[in-house]
Symmetry: C2
Subunit: 173 residues, 2 copies
């Protein structure tokens, strides 16, 4: 019995792996669990600038949005959907008042990045991430990936931006 159970689990696992890696259509994977980016893409801090961003409220975030070469090329050419291989990185920091800058200006007006809070990634792989619009989402705090509850919020939100292939950030010239 133990052997049969093990075999069933092994087959189920194998089927799962095949379902994720085979060139399946998006429809075929509907209902399949989302998979996320679990490893920080190497070299992202050297990538080129896409834009900057600030969120008020609870987030209180200051962001630099960078892209790998595939991303930058697609952005500059206005190519949609983004091709496989595109990676977009959002480097988030706190949004803090700069006392040293304010002294120079003679008034309180200057904001700079505080401590890093998290880094988020969108990785385009239309097959691997077929259940989430072709995008793999990643969130890393102190180098560790976000938990599943957090990660399951990425796609439903980004899926509101279908007209621009789920990407909110526009290119700053």
């Amino acid at each position: 019995m133990k052997q049969i159970t093990f075999l069933l689990i092994a087959v189920a696992t194998l089927v799962g792996v095949v379902a994720f890696t085979a060139p399946a259509s998006r429809a075929a994977n509907e209902g399949a669990p989302a998979i996320f980016v679990t490893k920080i893409p190497s070299g992202y801090r050297d990538w080129k600038l896409i834009s900057v961003a600030h969120e008020e409220g609870n987030l209180n975030s200051f962001a630099a949005v960078l892209g790998n070469d595939v991303a930058i090329k697609a952005y500059r050419e206005g190519k949609l959907p983004y091709p496989d291989g595109t990676i977009i990185a959002a480097l988030h920091y706190g949004h803090v008042s700069s006392e040293e800058n304010n002294k120079v200006f003679g008034r309180s007006q200057s904001f700079v990045p505080g401590a890093p809070t998290n880094i988020q990634f969108m990785v385009k792989d239309s097959k691997k991430y077929s259940t989430t619009g072709g995008w793999g989402f990643g969130h890393f705090k102190d180098g560790k990936p976000g938990d599943e509850a957090l990660m399951n919020t990425c796609f439903p939100c980004h899926n509101q931006g279908k007209a621009r292939d789920l990407v909110f950030t526009r290119y700053a010239p």
Copy 2:
């Protein structure tokens, strides 16, 4: 008389050129007029990220601060003063509310770069810019350099940051 006047102007011009290009000490150039960066350094939009910045008030600016390879290396190694060849670029945009992002968030919290306002540069050349702490300052709006009155405000302000070689922006990790 005309010839003598022309000769005097020619000599004065030559002396001026020599004074600017000879390896003169900073003290020797004190009182000499400042010279500015009058040409946009090529390729700056492809440079790596140093940090981001926001100024409230009249400026209402959103900035991405980028550096050429010499600048990035110096920043990452904490090298002061910055070596000759360092170029720092501040790409300024308006700081505007993003209606399309706010719709997704369901509340007004998102700010993005508006139209570009100006690009500013600091170019380190300890000989060429010896009268302004070794830095050449540049300001370009729609590709055109700022007038002399504006440009004369750069050095006195940045000179308040002597402890960090006149550079205000810190590196965002």
